[in-house]
Amino acid sequence: MRAHNEIIKLMHKYLDGDLLKEEEVTLRNHLENCEECQSHFHELKRTLTLIQSAENIKAPSNFTENVMKNLPSENKGFKYKR
């Protein structure tokens, strides 16, 4: 049986879509026989589901206006460029 650390590396390759065919077989065979790795894998996938449920927030309503007010003045820029 492979070391857990190596199997965990395969889990991350899987999550990044980088897992090779033979690695997929290794990972699957190991998971079938190792509860510890099974729950590690489950926790990883669940973590990603959880963080993807984070709230969506919007910028305050006067955001653009405030940015525009704080830009260096236009005239200076124009003169400088000419």
Partner: protein, 187 residues
């Protein structure tokens, strides 16, 4: 959209400041949200998102028009927020990073015998808790986790945004996922 932004950037480069307001309009929510996720509070998020747009404006001549503007803007926003995090009082941030409790503090306040029903995943309280756990990651992992899983960039795009090699992105996302797994396994 890309074409619209390209046009606006050209106008801004020629000195038309008003054209920039349309650029800000398009990206304000994404950049504000990115700053909020990096910093974990609304006040700082607003300041730093503004700072990012102002820096982009001031440095617009150094923007290479063959590249994507949004990638460049996200890079500025990420750098601005990481600078801000570094300038915070040391205890503010080190505390969160070093004394990671694997979420046990919060967890111990919840009734352990009662698994949370599924709908609760959507609850605001849980979302905030998850957010606060993301905020405790060291910034270099946090930025990648946020860009990948909340803002849905590919690893390749993240490598361009942060200007670091793809292999480094992969190492950091691996560590970031493990750190979060430890923090969120009890939820």
């Amino acid at each position: 959209m890309e074409q619209f932004i390209r046009e606006k950037i050209k106008q801004v480069k020629k000195g038309d400041q008003a054209a920039y307001s349309e650029v800000v309009n398009v990206y304000q929510h994404k950049i504000y949200q990115h700053c909020y996720r990096m910093l974990g509070n609304k006040h700082e998020a607003e300041d730093m998102a503004q700072e990012a747009f102002i820096r982009a404006y001031v440095n617009i001549d150094s923007f290479d028009e063959r590249k994507k503007f949004s990638t460049w803007l996200y890079r500025i926003a990420t750098n601005v927020t990481i600078d801000r995090i570094r300038k915070r009082k040391p205890d503010y941030y080190l505390d969160a990073e070093v004394k990671g409790t694997d979420g046990l503090d919060m967890y111990s306040q919840l009734s352990t015998d009662d698994p949370l029903p599924n709908e609760e995943v959507e609850s605001l309280e849980l979302q905030r808790y998850i957010h606060s756990e993301i905020s405790k990651l060291p910034p270099k992992y946090r930025s990648i986790i946020i860009l990948r899983y909340l803002e849905e960039f590919s690893l390749q795009e993240i490598s361009s945004i942060l200007d670091i090699p793809l292999g480094t992105v992969k190492t950091r996302i691996h560590r970031g996922r493990e750190a979060l797994r430890k923090r969120l396994r009890h939820v």
